[in-house]
């Protein structure tokens, strides 16, 4: 049996440590992944042909290859070419590249949904193409993309556990190591699961608040 002392003084502190490391993966990956998604999504809709095709190709590659394989490549293959990352760096880089690709899909769809008439109106007022995109199209597209992008962040919270295979001992890694030493599979995996559930619930709540904060009367409802 698992006694309380073991649970509170060994397992919980170790999982907490793992949780912090998980957060250190998720926070930069989700923020940079979102910004990257807006950038790449915008390029895919508005950039001139070579740049646009490059962005399309990037998304095709990073959406089309398993993330696990990408992580292995970053961490184990690149050193053969003299490019070395720590486990943490490789994981965050892999997550950012992947998240950017997925986020750009949501942003691209939202950009394309902005009414052509507003773009015409901005041009007719003398807006440059860049200002039109920055001040008229993107603020609306980001609002439209928010639910999809939020979903992507929830996924990221869960796939951050893949960092474990690069020897970065985050939450899942900690749980795995604890079970190997204590054999309390049920309790440890259950508790780690609760940690993830808490993170995703909290993220959902925060994203919901953000959506409400950005809400504009009548906007996006009529679709």
């Amino acid at each position: 049996m698992l006694d309380a002392d073991m649970f509170w003084n060994r397992i919980i502190p170790a999982l907490n440590e793992g949780l912090l490391l998980s957060l250190s993966l998720i926070a930069p990956s989700s923020v940079i992944g979102f910004v990257g998604g807006v950038l790449v999504g915008t390029l895919r809709v508005y950039a001139c042909s070579p740049l646009r095709r490059l962005a399309d190709a990037y998304v095709a590659v990073f959406r089309g290859i398993p993330l696990l394989l990408q992580l292995y490549f970053l961490y184990y293959a690149l050193p053969k070419w003299g490019i070395r990352f720590s486990a943490y760096q490789a994981a965050v880089l892999g997550f950012i590249l992947c998240s950017t690709a997925y986020q750009s899909e949501h942003v691209r769809g939202a950009l394309l949904s902005i009414r052509q008439g507003q773009i015409k109106a901005a041009c007719a007022l003398g807006f440059s193409a860049v200002d039109m995109i920055l001040y008229i199209v993107i603020p609306q597209a980001v609002r439209r993309a928010l639910p999809g992008c939020g979903n992507e962040v929830i996924y990221l919270i869960k796939y951050s556990s893949l960092a474990y295979v690069l020897t970065f001992i985050e939450l899942t890694g900690q749980a795995k190591e604890l079970t190997a030493r204590t054999f309390h599979y049920i309790e440890i995996y259950f508790t780690a699961g609760m940690y993830y559930l808490a993170m995703t619930t909290l993220a959902s709540w925060a994203l919901d608040r953000l959506e409400k904060k950005c809400r504009i009367p009548g906007f996006g409802v009529q679709r």
Binding site: R115, G117, A121, A124, G126, F127
Partner: protein
């Protein structure tokens, strides 16, 4: 170097505009000049090319051929700076308003002042309120477009164009998308502008409006201007013009003529 000199003091002149789209000739050698304070009214059947012509004037649709003169100076729209400057000086009102959905009424009017004219935010906000006052909407300044009626949206769009201090305003069927009971409030604003000496080019199906306000009516069909003249001339009773025939057909639908 070639120099183009236009006679008189036309605020805007479009000379020899041609445009093909999808292999079809939409505009065929259309020309128009408008002097300060004049209102030119484009009428004609659906598909005649009125919208295309108006959008060629500010190069939202680049014409295949033709030169545009502003105050006698030809515009070179291939130079980005000149293109933006042209659009700043030529306002445009669309059939379906095209307000910016994510901005309040006041921001809709002020954003171009800030981003295009480089005005500071405070001054732009004040200017926006002045223009909203002019179209009777200063009390709706902080709501969003979705909360307005069609007539109110169009008045905001007019305020947005006026705030830029344009030399000419192009209006593409500004009342066609409105419920009948809302046409009056927008027409009243346009009439007020005409009275105030604003130079305008208006495409419309509202014939009574055209008759009352136009300096000149231009009748378009299949990408060409077929008739042009003062309303009294083209619409004189007993006259035998395409314009009059068109007018009577529209009026018959409304039970007049």
């Amino acid at each position: 170097m070639t120099t183009h000199i236009t006679s008189g003091s036309a605020v805007l002149e479009a000379r020899g505009f041609c445009k093909s789209l999808g292999g079809k000739r939409i505009l065929n050698d259309v020309s128009l000049r408008v002097n300060k304070g004049e209102m030119k009214v484009l009428i004609g059947p659906s598909g005649a090319g009125k919208s295309t012509f108006l959008q060629c004037i500010n190069y939202l649709i680049p014409p295949d051929e033709g030169v545009l003169f502003l105050n006698g100076t030809p515009v070179a729209p291939s130079v980005k700076r000149e293109l933006y400057a042209l659009r700043e000086r030529v306002g445009m009102i669309f059939q379906d308003f095209n307000l910016f959905d994510h901005l309040t009424v006041q921001e809709n009017v002020s954003i171009a002042l800030v981003k295009v004219k480089g005005m500071n935010r405070g001054a732009a906000a004040l200017r926006a309120m002045e223009e909203l006052e002019r179209v009777g909407l200063s009390r709706r300044a902080s709501v969003y477009p979705a909360q307005l009626s069609g007539g109110q949206k169009q008045r905001v769009a007019i305020a947005r164009a006026l705030a830029m201090d344009p030399e000419v305003i192009l209006l593409d069927e500004p009342t066609s998308a409105l419920d009948p009971e809302l046409v009056g409030e927008v027409s009243a604003v346009i009439r007020e502008l005409a009275r105030g000496g604003m130079t305008m080019i208006l495409a419309t199906h509202q014939m009574e409006f055209a008759r009352a306000l136009a300096t000149e009516i231009l009748f378009m069909d299949r990408g060409e201007i077929i008739e042009r003249g003062a309303p009294a001339e083209l619409l004189a009773s007993g006259g035998n013009t395409r314009t009059r025939a068109f007018f009577c057909k529209l009026a018959a639908e409304e039970g007049a003529c």
